[in-house]
Symmetry: none
Subunit: 194 residues, 4 copies
C-alpha cells in the first residue's frame, strides 16, 4: 500500500523533522481539521509533494507529532531521586509540568480529542500515561513506606497537576489567582501523601 516514503539519510532528517514540528504546531494551533496539507507545506517551507516523501498521509504527521509530544514533553521521566523531601519533589513536578505546557502551548484538548478517536493513538497515549503514573507511584513508595492505594493517589496527583497547568497556561477564569491555585494544589498533594 505505501508507495514512497523513505526514512532518511542526511539533511533530509532535518526536513522530516521540520515537517513534523511545524505541521504538528499548526495542527495544535488551529486544529487538525482546520488546516490543509498545503498549509502545512507552506508553514514548513516545503512543497506539498515533499510531505508525501516522508509521510503516508496527513494523519501520519499528526501521529508522529503526538508520539514525540507524548514521549518527550507530556510524559517525561520523573524518577529523579535527587529530591530531598516530598515538598521539593512536588514543587519540581508542578514547575516542570507548567514549563512543558508553556513550551508547547498546544491546544491540548485538540490533541486529546484526536487521540481518543484513534485506537492506535489511544493505546499509545494510555500506555505513556500509565507509565508515568507507575513511575510516580514507585517514587512515592520509596519515600514513604506503607502507602495504601498509591496508584490511585498518583493518578489523582498527576491529574491535579495537569489541571493546574492548563489553568495557568490558558488562564480561563479571571477570578482565579494563579499563585493561590498553585499553592493550594501543592498543599492538597501534600495532604494526599500524608
Amino acid at each position: 500500500m505505501p508507495k514512497v516514503r523513505e526514512p532518511i539519510k542526511k539533511t533530509s532528517i532535518a526536513k522530516k523533522r521540520k515537517i513534523v514540528k511545524k505541521g504538528f504546531e499548526l495542527m495544535c494551533q488551529k486544529g487538525y481539521h482546520h488546516i490543509t496539507c498545503a498549509d502545512i507545506a507552506k508553514y514548513a517551507g516545503v512543497s506539498t509533494g515533499s510531505i508525501y516523501q516522508y509521510f503516508y498521509s496527513k494523519k501520519d504527521i499528526l501521529i508522529a507529532g503526538i508520539n514525540e509530544y507524548l514521549t518527550e514533553i507530556m510524559f517525561p521521566k520523573i524518577t529523579k531521586e535527587k529530591f530531598q523531601d516530598k515538598e521539593a519533589m512536588i514543587q519540581e513536578l508542578i514547575n516542570s509540568s507548567i514549563e512543558n505546557h508553556k513550551k508547547y502551548k498546544v491546544q491540548h484538548e485538540e490533541l486529546v480529542s484526536i487521540i481518543h478517536q484513534d485506537k492506535e493513538l489511544s493505546k499509545l497515549y494510555q500506555e505513556k500515561e500509565w507509565e508515568v503514573t507507575k513511575s510516580l507511584a514507585e517514587f512515592l513508595k520509596k519515600d514513604n513506606k506503607s502507602q495504601e492505594n498509591i496508584l490511585e493517589k498518583a493518578h489523582i496527583i498527576l491529574d491535579l497537576i495537569d489541571n493546574l497547568s492548563h489553568e495557568v497556561i490558558y488562564h480561563k477564569h479571571k477570578d482565579l489567582k494563579e499563585e493561590i491555585l498553585t499553592d493550594e494544589t501543592a498543599k492538597i498533594i501534600i495532604k494526599i501523601l500524608k
Copy 2:
C-alpha cells in the same frame, strides 16, 4: 449569511429539538468531523433540507447541542441545601456527576476540543463552568465559615470529580480500582475542606 430560518410555532418545535438531540448525539459518538449532514438527517428522521430550515449550518446544531448539554447536564445547579453535612454533599456531587457522564456517554474530549476552537463556545463554556464553581463555593462558604481561597478550592474539587467521572466511564486504566479511586477522591475532597 442568514437566509431562512424560523424559530418555531407549534409542532415543529419538536422537529428542531429532534435534530439537536439526534445530531448532537451522533457528533458526540463519532466526532463532529466524522459525520455528514446527511447522516444527521437520516438519524433524526428528517430530510437534509429540513435541517437548514432550523439551523444556519452544521456547526449551528453543535452549538445548540453544547448549549443544552452545558446547561442541563454538565453543569447542573448544585445549590441544593438539603444536605446535612459535607460528606453527604460530596458523595452526592460525585454520584450525580458520574450519573450525568454515564447518561450522555459523550466523547467528552471531542466536545471540549471543539469548544476550545470556537471563541463563542469557549466563552459560553467558561461562563457555565464558572457559574458552577461559584455556586459550589457559595455552598461551601455557608457550611463552613472562614474558608480561605474557596474559589480555587472549589475549582480543584470540581476538577477532581470530573476526572473521576471520566475514569469511571471510560475505565482506561485497568489497574485502577474504581471503588478505591472514588473513595480516595472523596477523602481528598474532605481533606481539602478541613
Copy 3:
C-alpha cells in the same frame, strides 16, 4: 465502503444513463486516462457531484458503459433463424457487425485494453464473447450437420468479421479496397463452412 449511490426513481434514471452514455463516449473518443471527471461532468451537462451520486468512481462509469456496449452492441444475439442459406446469413452477420462498429465508432482498442487490465471486466468480456461464439456454432450446426471443430471455426469466423469491421471503420490501409476485403472475407467464411 460505498457511501452514497442510489439506484433511481424517475427522471434520475435518465440522468444516470446520460452520464454513462456521454462519459463512455468521451472515454472511447479520448481514452480513459486522457479525460477527467470534470470533463465527463461537463460533457454530460451535470456537476461532478452528480456523478458520484450514481457511480462509485470514474472506473464505475467505464464498467457500466462497457457492460452496455458488450450486451447491446458488440455481442448482439445472432440466433435469428430467418436466414434461407449460409450466404445470406454470413452477409447479414458482416453487415450488422459493420453497422454496429460504425454506430459506436469507439476506439475499440482502448476498450479492449482496459478490459484486459481488469479481472472483472475481463471475465465479463470473455463470457459475452464466448456466448456469441457458442450461439453462432449452434446456428451453424443446425444448418449443416456433421461439422467438425465447429466451435473453433465459429471463433475464427467471428474474428474475421471483427477484423473486417475495423478495417472498414478506420480504413488504416489505403491500398486495401473495402469492397474486395469484404468479398474475400465472405468467400473465406463460405469456404470454412464447406
Copy 4:
C-alpha cells in the same frame, strides 16, 4: 520542450537500451498508465534523472520501445525463400508468430490501444504492418501466379495468424483446443491460397 538529451557516445548506449528494454517491458506488463517513471528507473537500475538524459518524456520511452518491438519482433521480415511449399511456409509463419508472442508476452492490447491514441505511433504502426503485408503478398505471388486480390488475402491471413497467437498465448477460452485451432487456421489459410 526539448531541454537536454543526447544521442550517445560509448557505453551509455547500453544505458539507453536498458531503459527502453526494461521500461517497455514494465509498460507491457502493467500498462503504461499503471507504472511511474520511478518504477521504470528502479526496474532498469538507473536513477530517475538518468531517464531524462536520454528521453524527453515517459512517452518517449514507450515510443522507442514500440519502434523496436514493431521492427524486430512483431513484423519481422518474411521474405525467406527457403520454403519448399506453401504448407511449410504457412506453418513456419504460424510458429514464428506464436514464438514471438510468447517471447514478449506483452499485454498486446495495451500497446495497440496506446498506439491508436497517438498519431505518430499510429502511422508508424500501420507502415510496419503494411510492409509485412506487402512482403507476404510478394512472397505469395512468386509462389503462385495469377493470384487475385493478393493484398487483401495477405492482410486476412496475417490477421488470422495474429488472432491464433493471441488465443494460444492468453488461452482465454477454455473450450477451444489449441491444437485444433492451429490446424483449422492453417487449413483455412491453405484454402485461401487455393
